[in-house]
């Protein structure tokens, strides 16, 4: 039985698709059977980030409407053989999604995989609420910036109200993933600090992903950052986050701290 994880945020452009790809690839590389579902109907991106855009035949809407079987729509990753992608439709919109259809797809994937990661669209409307509806766990992607934090808080409220688990009186396990973290800017007060974000959201931290050029490079290459550049700051942070998602205890590394330590050792001051 798979664990269903929704990667959501409320705010757009904070790193949900990047995170779904990176975490999915990291989990699959450790031997887990992982299925990624793109719920952003009409504005699909997960297929691009995964480098699968030229192999899309059927999509989530086709499966929901019974036009295609799930096995026909799932695209197997060429690099990791335990990683599959169910892309969204580009020509339709979220109104084509039905709760029953989504329930069937997730139920079927639960049987055959270890992890089902749902890449939520931005916002709080149908696409986002359906992406979170059947989740056991939520990764709430947040930039350390006031609008993103407030939108994440809104999403946390929805996770406690509009999911199947919440309706049954249970809780969705929620984790914050801080992305695009820039330690220098936080120190200058230009960005919220990690403590600020956690104080406002009062939800456990899954990981801190540093702002970096590698993420953009990876998505333009059509590869999750954990595959294209595993030694980079973001990749290492995502790999740690994937381990924490599996339940391991991994000490939290604050990106940028290492650099400052070296600077201190050599008597230099950070910019």
């Amino acid at each position: 039985m798979a664990k269903v994880v929704v990667v959501t945020s409320g705010k757009g452009g904070v790193g949900k698709t990047t995170t779904t790809a990176a975490l999915g690839a990291a989990l699959a590389q450790s031997g887990q059977k992982v299925a990624l579902i793109d719920f952003d109907v009409g504005l699909r991106n997960l297929d691009l980030v995964m480098g699968a855009e030229r192999r899309v035949v059927y999509d989530l809407i086709n499966v929901v409407q019974g036009v295609a079987k799930l096995q026909q729509a799932l695209i197997k990753d060429k690099r990791i053989d335990t990683l599959w992608l169910l892309p969204a439709s580009q020509t339709r919109d979220k109104d084509a999604l039905t709760e029953d259809g989504v329930a069937r797809v997730i139920a079927e994937l639960r049987e055959s995989h270890d992890w089902v990661l749902c890449d939520s669209p931005a916002g709080i409307e149908r696409g986002a609420t359906l992406a979170m509806r059947f989740a056991d766990t939520a990764v709430i992607v947040t930039n350390p910036e006031v609008s993103s934090v407030r939108d994440s808080d809104r999403i946390i409220g929805l996770l406690d109200a509009k999911t199947e688990k919440a309706e049954k009186g249970q809780r969705v396990d929620k984790h914050i993933l801080i992305t695009r973290y820039d330690g220098a800017r936080a120190a200058r007060g230009e960005m919220l600090s990690i403590e600020d974000v956690l104080e406002i959201l009062s939800t456990p931290l899954l990981g801190i992903i540093p702002e970096s050029q590698e993420v953009l490079r990876a998505s333009n290459l059509g590869a999750p950052v954990t595959l294209s550049d595993p030694a980079s700051g973001p990749a290492r942070a995502y790999l740690d986050a994937a381990r924490r998602l599996k339940g391991e205890t991994v000490p939290m590394a604050i990106p940028g701290d290492k650099k400052r330590l070296l600077d201190r050792l050599f008597g230099r001051r950070a910019a």
Binding site: R154, G157, E199, I200, S202
Partner: protein
Amino acid sequence: MTSTSAAQARPSLGFRGRSFMAYSLTPQPPIADWLAELDKWARNSPGFFVGRPIVLDLAAVTLSQGAIAHLIAELSLRAIRIIGIEGAVPADLGADLPPLLKNGRAAGMDDVSGAKPAAQQQEPSSLLLEEPVRSGQSVIFPHGDVTVVGQVASGAEVVAGGSIHIYGALRGRALAGSMGNSRARIFCSKNEAELLAIDGYYQTTEDIDSKLRNRPIQAWLEGDVLMVAASD
């Protein structure tokens, strides 16, 4: 001649004060329409009045002695037995009418609004929340105080008929005394409020003294001015 000693020798009459609860019916003018409404209720709840002690409260109507007698006759046709009358003066009541009652008080009784008299639930007078109130959530509790053990996020609101107590940061809106209670207060451990209001009188972040930001505060009404002061 006093006869106290003589009274002790006789058997007691058993004449003493007792209090009972009765229902009271208050007819509203015009009486004909009110009787029609009564008939409608009786159709939904047949036999409701049978066996119940009913007092007729005439405070809302002005009826002559004859009209009162006629009304009581109309009610007894509907199996409603009047045991007493309130809201009238002795001059209006003849000897054959039920006696005048004074000093009636409201009393909690079985629910009378439905066909099935249900046991009255004790209305909760305060609400306790142990989870933070998330952005976009709206907590509305007109019956009394609201206590939040946790923070109230930016973009969230708490609306209470009574006072609001927040053991955490208030980053959203708090509206106390929402049902017209000007004595309600707002307390929070860390003031970052977007709006504070008591009985409709409000202040937004801009109006509140910036020196009070991030401090524990108390807000109350003095007349029609919302006062906010630090409580540390």
